[in-house]
Point group: D2
Chain length 452, copies 4
């Protein structure tokens, strides 16, 4: 163990690497590329401290998995096959899966994938399994079937449920790292929880991972943290407004590209490294040259494009001029066409300058065979060894369980809510638009209260 390598980490303090294979994976170009992909995309334009990358996050997930594995190996080493305890032979597959779980992520993934029909999960599998990649070469040195094992863990098809749950479940190394890391860098005072405590109470059983009942409060706190980060950070209206801008500008760029190509015009407004993406014929190698800087440099240049919608959206995005938004109750949804009409009357194409966006999250749920997306429920282990589902013991979690938190919003140009725009010929339109808004909510114009 003397070849220990330590990475200082502001969130987890220190990240320890004892295995040459992990060190080699970190050194691959595919993994180094994650340094150039922000973890939170546009969110750093709202929480300016949150400029951390997927590289940091991936190291963090690795480190949390390593701490859990060390705990399991020290306290619950398997004695006989099938005893439900931890098999130390799973160590390396767990650590590699933790490190590589996001290796196929691209720039501003969620927005980007929507437009270009790429899929970061498929790319993660490809990076691990394709014999072209350095990652695959490093993994193959462990064993010929090792890449396949790592890929299975990420795909949740690996036979050992303990390994799978440590990477993907309602309380896994990935979620624990991103909640802590995003809380740290956004400067949220919420969103912290006691990682060390949770790690110490992890208790393996044949069906997966449980938590000793004495650690329940740390898990309660984790559930609350998750709720807080969602409603305060991930669902922040200005982040969502910037994502809408990004999505619309990429859609517009694609429209412009297709149009120019059809008309036989030059498409060199799309930089060389992005060309395969726009033409729809993108190899794995080409995908792996893409990162935030390639996309940002393109948007930077598009600010000067002759297509005025592309140029305007690009400059709004880069200069951080987000759309505004209001919450929309179900009963008021019927008013949106009227709002869109007013936006159009004010001179904005509603396809690019308005949007609806619903963001809701379920902080915790017990297993529900009828749910669209099934969840592995959190199990507590009692003194006598019996397992019990978290909400049966935690009154706090019971209160939250199965409830969705979030909101539905309508986005529009900030011009629409300009005040005292008397010198603006659109002023009457703005004034009419503003009658639909009260305390940040969409309302029937006649229901507005007078301000007290």
């Amino acid at each position: 163990m003397q070849n220990e390598k330590i990475f200082r980490d502001p969130v987890l303090n220190e990240i320890h690497v004892y295995d040459q294979v992990i060190l080699d994976l970190i050194g691959t170009p595919e993994f180094q590329r994650l340094r150039r992909i922000d973890q939170l995309g546009v969110t750093s334009s709202v929480f300016h401290g949150a400029e951390h990358s997927r590289f940091s996050h991936s190291l963090g997930v690795y480190e949390i998995a390593r701490r859990i594995e060390m705990h399991l190996e020290n306290f619950y080493p398997t004695q006989t096959p099938g005893d439900g305890l931890w098999d130390a032979n799973e160590r390396l597959v767990l650590l590699c899966a933790a490190l590589l779980h996001d290796v196929g992520h691209g720039a501003y993934s969620h927005t980007f994938e929507h437009i270009f029909h790429t899929d970061h999960e498929a790319y993660t599998q490809a990076v691990i399994l394709s014999e072209e990649t350095n990652v695959n070469a490093v993994l193959r040195q462990v064993a010929p079937d090792f890449p396949e094992k790592v890929a299975q863990v990420i795909a949740k098809t690996y036979p050992n449920p303990q390994v799978v749950q440590l990477i993907s479940s309602q309380i896994d190394a990935d979620r624990m790292d991103y909640l802590l890391r995003d809380a740290f860098f956004t400067g949220a005072t919420y969103g912290k929880f006691d990682l060390a405590r949770i790690v110490q109470t992890i208790h393996p059983y044949a069906g997966g991972i449980a938590f000793d009942e004495k650690g329940m409060y740390a898990i309660e706190d984790y559930v609350v943290s998750r709720y807080q980060m969602y409603v305060q950070v991930y669902f922040h209206p200005v982040s969502r407004a910037l994502e809408v801008l990004l999505q619309h500008l990429l859609e517009r760029a694609k429209v412009v590209y297709d149009d120019r190509r059809e008309r036989g015009l030059s498409t060199d407004f799309v930089p060389k490294l992005l060309q395969p993406l726009f033409s729809g014929d993108l190899s794995l190698e080409q995908y792996l040259t893409l990162d935030d800087s390639v996309l940002l440099a393109a948007i930077n240049q598009w600010r000067f494009d002759e297509d005025s919608v592309l140029a305007d959206l690009s400059q709004r995005f880069l200069n951080r001029v987000p759309l505004k938004s209001i919450t929309v109750g179900k009963a008021q949804r019927h008013l949106l066409p009227e709002l869109r009409r007013l936006v159009e009357a004010a001179g904005f194409d509603p396809r690019y300058y308005t949007a609806e966006n619903d963001s809701f999250d379920l902080p915790y749920d017990a297993y529900n065979p009828d749910a669209k997306q099934q969840r592995t429920q959190i199990e507590l282990r009692q003194q006598n060894g019996n397992l019990v589902e978290l909400s049966e013991k935690s009154a706090l979690v019971k209160a939250l369980m199965g409830r969705e938190f979030g909101d539905a919003r309508f986005f529009f140009p900030s011009e629409m809510v300009k005040k005292q725009a008397t010198d603006d010929m659109m002023a009457p339109i703005y004034a009419e638009f503003q009658q639909y808004i009260e305390n940040g909510q969409l309302v029937e114009p006649e229901t507005k209260n007078s301000i007290k």
Copy 2:
């Protein structure tokens, strides 16, 4: 403002004093006495870091009140009487009430008062109002009626509801300090919240104190913190077990004292400073000589008393040999007489060696005219100036509102759950007793599961 005096504080970083009257109050013997009274009593025997005093807490409440007052004075100064804004003339009465709100507290107050029929709230009023005290002398220098005003704030009879609510409400300077301070010193990773954020969103109105809606998440977090500190720290079973011991040993000391006095025997096992307390004739001045050290020195000495129950309870208390406990569901309560019988059969007087204790808390509630103890609900102020009760906006608080958290426990000597006591003639009694316990709960003997 150049005579600023700064106290370094590990919780609030710095405590700033700008007023000579505050500095003089801190310097009084009555206030200095709070250094010798622990904030959390026996809890430091469970959370060993929590050895902080009521002196620290009182400075903290003052500092939080000062920060709030500075915020109110800067942002919401009253313009015309009755406009619902903040009147800077209330500054000193607020700060003095904050500093002095606990000045009448005694050693291990809650236990102590129960036995000796003292009342720390009455003593707080007396310290402020009695012309014998240095505190009163300092306050009178401000104005002849100033002590009366300070006392009214603490008694919640002061006419300005803003001042009263900042000292006593569901979210006041006192609670905010003790939650933060107790979390800090116990080493809880929970129980933190964003004080600065809450202070900045305080918004006065004619009826008291509201909070800008934009600060809602900080208040949610405060409500959760409160919940967490109660269930994890204040209701900790071992703390409650030590409190039971303390209560029973003081009861026994009183019984022994009364008995010896009746029989004309020497009562000098009670130290000089405690004599007035036991004889039931205690002046304010005598009360103010009492502190933790007087009580602890007495218990120290009682370990060697000839009354074996007093000696044994004293040594258990001082050497930290707490009673054990189990939770008691309503349906199982009928079994307690049988448990007490077994404790007695094992040689322990159940009056002193067993106890029932229920600890429940309501983390937050809206105003309820029918409740025993009425609460000032937390009001959020929306953009348009309307007030709305917290749970109408916070789905998290709505989920918690009106729910009680906590448990009911039965306490007994740890000997009863001794394992492998084959050399002990009481072993059969212990074994029978243990049949009533499963996973820390009282159960019907026949319902015990076999351990898996």
Copy 3:
């Protein structure tokens, strides 16, 4: 003051803006561009958490200046001109200068400027003074001569020495923010100091800024922090190695560009936005389109360039394959030509694959009229009002004063120190090279100790 805008900041907790002009400056495209320029350049490849931007730092400097100004305005408001106290009319010029002090910075400035002869200080002045910029337009709204005043503060020619010293001196808002911020994001456990304490002890006098003697320990700690950050972070050998790579690859790109242009070949390997830079004809507007992403996207593409040196350096830089280094004592410097010869023999062009780099810093010095770079010494203010230079009171600072800390290093390809390279025909060259290295230092080959 009710239009307060708060930015959450992980380092300073909250950044408060009360002035519309500050909010407008933050909203300018020139200032938003700083989001896309990393504060520490290549350092984030060594300390992976340090991915913060100049935007964050600039907000931080503003916030520290704001806290200092509030302190000065509260405690030391000028009464009569020339009394040496603080003139609140300087508030806005101080805050704007703090916010804008880095607005002309470019991508990887220090390396970049060396190659392309740009000067970020000149660009900062230009952004403030040029009537083309949005920054200038916002500043002009305050007063016609206001841009000039702000520029003077940054150029240290502003008549009020207090304002100048708060922005540029041995202990100013800029340094305090970057030390704290860089320490925070690198995860250094050193490098912290008590900002609040330092702010509170600032005491103006006619000649500038002094510090109350009671705050001396906080300043000692600041001086030590500065030392620690320099030797541990800013002078880290791997950062310097990556900077060497970046410098050499940009030099090579320039050589290739000039060569291709001379030969009439296409120079479109340089992306559109970088073309003006390479052609040497760069307008202010063009400069302001440059950011990290433009440079990184270019290097990304150069990995595939037909110039093999450019391609190799680009891929080493992007895939983080730094040069190795050793420290060089003066007495051993004469050995460097021999080392360079060996590097060349191993197949590397020493112009691009080796470098010498000296990094030394003086953590603190008193004013010295003979020094190349004169420093404003730190003055302590004693109880009786006399000023005394810091090291006369602080034995710790006296021990450090005037001492330079750092090292001189020689950089070379990591291949040169490959171990067990028996299958490599260069192995004998590597072996010879390695004889010059002992404990990371350049040594005479014969002086190597045997390992114990």
Copy 4:
């Protein structure tokens, strides 16, 4: 290892106990008694947060030793006797010595011992070695000679120098805990260092403990922290003033006791538990009943004693009315008799109301065979295995090495520096006294500067 017991600790986060013997030692009355002895004595009257006990500190030293031992066992297990690596058989003796190193400490030890000629180190040995104690009984269960071994470690006579240095050296578990803990509770922003880093770089060798050179910065920071805590906290003038009061009041109590006893009067002003101490015939068992509360309860009562000096000193101590002080340069020392004369003229007995006190510390020194108190120097281990003394590598430590920091002070009643005491007949004496003071220093009356 499944019987892990965790203590939450605000400083070290968690303290883990895996050995029944450690748990049993913590449960002994002798160890529990440390809960009632403050770590910093009177210092909590200056830094009000510093109310932590020797119990907390002792657990902390144990935990640091445990972390170091785990590191040594994992990374440097001995292979063959005499190889200089770590022998895991030393584990328990190390942990027990760490836990028990202060078990003989008494209330306000340093002051107390001076008066009553007790010696906490001798008592620590006695608690471990005497067959009367529970501590000894627990230790004997490990092996008959185990108490002797533990005692040897604390006495520095144990044959394994690694074990001894981990408990007593310039950088040992005891010092590391008290520096961190005292910094934490005083609220000092200085005094922190990176414990985890230091632990990880510990490297055993045959002669003791060295530190890998890569961890040098953490050790530098530790040396600076030590300096900072000494000059700012441990040498704080007000703490020293309260210690002077305590010392003088105990001296006075002894004088009064001896006098009353000689004169055949009652000595019951000394409470029962303190009687053996005053009569000079104190058994180990009696010593172990003493704690802070016994002493404080006595002083509390002495406030009402008929001896006016004892009563006055007791009330000054308990009500925190410290003596004032000034620094005394060697050249001015000859003025002290004159100051004492003035104090006496103002009505104070100079034996009880004045004192001289010198406090100096050497933050670090290399081994010096001529020094009074020899120090084990800190050794760094270079890449090639050679050891080198710390200051040869750290320019910062070199700058501090061998330098003493601190001051010499003269203490006197605060009445002497009363201002505007026109109604006081002692005013002329005070005025004369004040001529000797300038900026907190003792000066020749004629050298006083006029205030600028």
